[in-house]
């Protein structure tokens, strides 16, 4: 029916006089947006005696929370925010931060104290962490509304309990009672305290998630901006029982053919959950909606990576690490923006800002190269791969940020490895203490075995291997008028160049047809010019030299 409709509407538009573009509709109200008057909570946490404090540790606060929210800890403990484990249903791989390897700080094993500053818990500092201890769940990191609660980067998930200085940065101990009495819903600030800082700093890992989203202009993120929908993360990543929707290991790609503002809340955070499957005004040809059969919304509506003014890391080369300055001290070299391009501890980096994503076919499933998997060290090893292809139903072209890396691997077994980078006082095997890769890998792999990440051992022989990793781009959704223009793809060398199995008019051609066709065109033109030129010459010759009358110029 819809198909007939657009043909009819096209004919109608014709009979009514051609209108070249559909009139832009007024911006519809955004359901679910928090730009209405907030509804107050029915509980004022500052009036609860159990939250009067004082609290010495985070665990004490959690115990107080659990006196009322009796099921909360158990719910959190079943979530990926706590387990860092995810069973991928399609590939049967065990994923999650505990199991995967990236080309940033590589892996969690052996680096617990540093990595677990983004664990929703307290005290994961070795492989024996008790994942069933309810008081170890950190309520405040998600429910703080004061902005005072900050986890110490090297504190194994704890906030600083006394004012602490770390690498020249001061971390103030929060007043836990004050924070506890002011808990509330999650916010861009609370989610962002970890998700904007992935890879060890603001905007490092994700090119579409950084602190510029805290108070974004409308042009940066039409949903999250206070000038737009003023969404918090959980408006799309809705939570139920402390389990959120949306996973980059298993991206949901529901398909609908319905109108804008259709409500499929169970499909959040997919765009179609709110926008429906055919959100564009059909206009004369309905080609924008038709594009949705083959490309994801994000492909047009997230025009560039890292649009918020912060550059994101695109390359991390660990093989350069360990070079000391003349004084034997650590070197940190920075670019004009203050981003490190060399760090003795980490190697060399490349950064980019405001650049087009990489496009790949994607069916929502991501397959990982895990620690025990055999790799070919002579090639660039994909640490993960978006699955799907042009001929696979349900696959669409998606935007990705690709991070390229060069990282240590087990040259005897041809395996990826997890080196122990971070070490506390006395943990000299850590790379950042001894700068000895062999010891760091040996220690890291022992830890990887200890937490069940892998059975693979370390051969004692290491090298460096080129890797790449794909990060789906979903955020920093631009207003419609700033989305990718047609010509960005539909032009020679357009954005889809290199994406297999799709013919993009304006970008792709038929070289043989082109050569023969244009040759025919030019030959015809030459023949006509020659023919006409000869006629004109003969006409001049006859008029001036041949003695014929002017009347015969007809030939």
């Amino acid at each position: 029916m819809k198909r007939i409709c657009w043909i009819l509407s096209a004919l109608l538009a014709l009979s009514a006089g051609p209108a070249l573009a559909a009139e832009a509709p007024a911006e519809p109200p955004i359901p679910g947006a928090s730009n209405e008057e907030p509804v107050g909570s029915t509980a004022d946490h500052s009036q609860f005696g159990v939250l009067e404090g004082p609290f010495e540790t985070g665990q004490e606060v959690t115990q107080a929370c659990l006196t009322c929210h009796t099921e909360a800890a158990e719910q959190v403990q079943s979530s990926i925010h706590w387990t860092w484990t995810y069973q991928q249903p399609a590939t049967q791989q065990t994923l999650g931060k505990r199991y995967v390897v990236n080309n940033l700080c590589i892996g969690v094993a052996g680096n617990y104290q540093r990595c677990s500053s983004c664990h929703v818990g307290y005290g994961w500092d070795d492989s024996d962490f008790d994942f069933s201890a309810e008081e170890r769940v950190d309520c405040l990191v998600c429910h703080d509304t004061t902005g005072e609660y900050v986890k110490l980067p090297t504190g194994a998930g704890h906030p600083p309990y006394e004012d602490t200085e770390l690498h020249g940065k001061r971390f103030e101990a929060p007043d836990l009672a004050h924070v506890a009495q002011n808990v509330g819903e999650t916010s861009r600030e609370t989610c962002g305290s970890c998700h904007f800082e992935g890879g060890g700093g603001d905007a490092v890992k994700h090119g579409d998630l950084d602190s510029s989203l805290l108070d974004a202009p409308r042009s940066l993120d039409v949903h999250m901006s206070p000038e737009g929908g003023d969404f918090s993360c959980s408006d799309c990543h809705t939570f139920s029982g402390h389990i959120q929707r949306g996973s980059r290991y298993h991206v949901s790609m529901p398909d609908y053919e319905d109108s804008p503002l259709a409500a499929h809340p169970h499909d959040k955070p997919a765009c179609v959950a709110c926008h429906g499957g055919e959100p564009h005004e059909p206009g004369l040809h309905d080609k924008l909606n038709a594009h949705g059969d083959l490309i994801a919304c994000q492909t047009c509506h997230v025009p560039e990576i890292a649009r918020g003014g912060l550059s994101t890391k695109t390359r991390w080369d660990w093989s350069d690490a360990g070079r000391m300055g003349a004084d034997g001290e650590r070197i940190v070299e920075r670019n004009e923006q203050g981003r490190p391009v060399y760090d003795t501890m980490k190697g060399s980096f490349a950064w980019r800002e405001d650049y087009p994503p990489t496009y790949r076919w994607f069916n929502g499933e991501v397959s990982y190269t895990l620690v025990g998997d055999t790799i070919d060290p002579d090639t660039e090893v994909p640490l993960n791969r978006p699955l799907g292809g042009p001929d696979e139903a349900g696959s669409k072209i998606w935007p990705f940020k690709v991070i390229y890396g060069r990282q240590p691997y087990d040259a005897g077994n041809d395996h990826l490895v997890v080196p122990k980078l971070f070490g506390s006082e006395g943990e000299d095997a850590a790379y950042w203490r001894s700068y000895d890769w062999d010891r760091a890998i040996r220690a890291g792999m022992a830890e990887a075995q200890a937490i069940g990440q892998t059975d693979a051992g370390y051969s004692g022989d290491y090298g460096f291997v080129d890797t790449r990793m794909y990060w789906p781009v979903n955020h920093m959704v631009a207003p419609a008028e700033e989305s990718v223009a047609c010509g960005e793809c539909h032009s020679p060398g357009g954005r889809m160049a290199g994406v297999a199995g799709v013919y993009v008019p304006g970008q792709d051609g038929h070289p043989l047809i082109e050569r023969l066709g244009w040759a025919a065109v030019w030959l015809t033109l030459l023949a006509v010019l020659f023919h006409g030129g000869l006629r004109y010459y003969l006409y001049r010759y006859q008029r001036h030299g041949g003695g014929h009358s002017e009347a015969e110029r007809g030939s």
């Binding site: 070249l20 038709a290 047609c486 013919y503 244009w518 025919a520 023919h531």
Partner: protein, 205 residues
């Protein structure tokens, strides 16, 4: 002077010419040959012009069928060689055209063949492949995507468009400059009237 083209034919020819040139220029932009309007704008214009041309064609087909004028475009099978010889030689030496235009036979055999090729091959190839391109999403994944692919249909569209350019160059040259006087046919196509034999300028026999 006699009326050789009806008012409908004059209207049809020039409207069609304008639409085809519009389609050609926007089509070349869509093809990536140059950038002016931008792909989105060029596409919208291309689609509007295409629907308009299809509507015009519907009227023209109806007119040709009801008036019987369609017979003007049926190739005669003879005389093509004489016309070709005239354009290759006679036109330079001032020979008279081997065929005389009349109300019942407006086109010489070469014209008939060329216009027939345009109407029976180039134009249908363009609009059938164009409609398939436009409706790609509705047949992709059906039985039609076995024999067809977007690239193949686009190839047909581009091939036909290039053939159209060849036709246009030759047609404009011959129709606009080879009469007696040189603008005779152009004038006829604009006013609808052409000279009766011997009326305008003397021809050499």
């Amino acid at each position: 002077m006699i009326r050789i083209f009806t008012r409908f034919e004059v209207f049809w020819h020039w409207t069609q010419a304008a639409l085809i040139f519009g389609l050609l220029f926007t089509g070349l932009e869509l093809h990536g040959s140059y950038a002016l309007l931008g792909f989105g704008q060029a596409f919208a214009v291309h689609i509007v012009l295409a629907w308009a041309l299809i509507a015009l064609w519907a009227f023209a087909i109806f007119w040709h069928l009801t008036t019987g004028e369609w017979r003007q475009y049926v190739p005669t099978g003879t005389g093509v060689a004489r016309m070709a010889a005239y354009y290759a030689y006679g036109i330079f030496s001032g020979e008279a055209k081997p065929f005389v235009k009349t109300r019942s036979a407006k086109h010489n055999p070469l014209q008939r063949l060329a216009y027939f090729a345009f109407k029976a091959a180039i134009a249908p190839a363009l609009w059938i492949s164009g409609l398939l391109l436009l409706s790609y999403n509705y047949w992709d994944g059906t039985w039609l995507s076995g024999p067809l692919s977007l690239a193949a249909v686009a190839g047909v569209h581009v091939t036909a468009a290039l053939a159209l350019i060849v036709f246009l160059i030759a047609h404009v040259y011959m129709a606009a400059t080879t009469g007696s006087p040189w603008y005779e046919y152009l004038r006829a196509m604009v006013t609808g009237y052409d000279c009766e034999e011997g009326e305008c300028l003397p021809r050499r026999r």
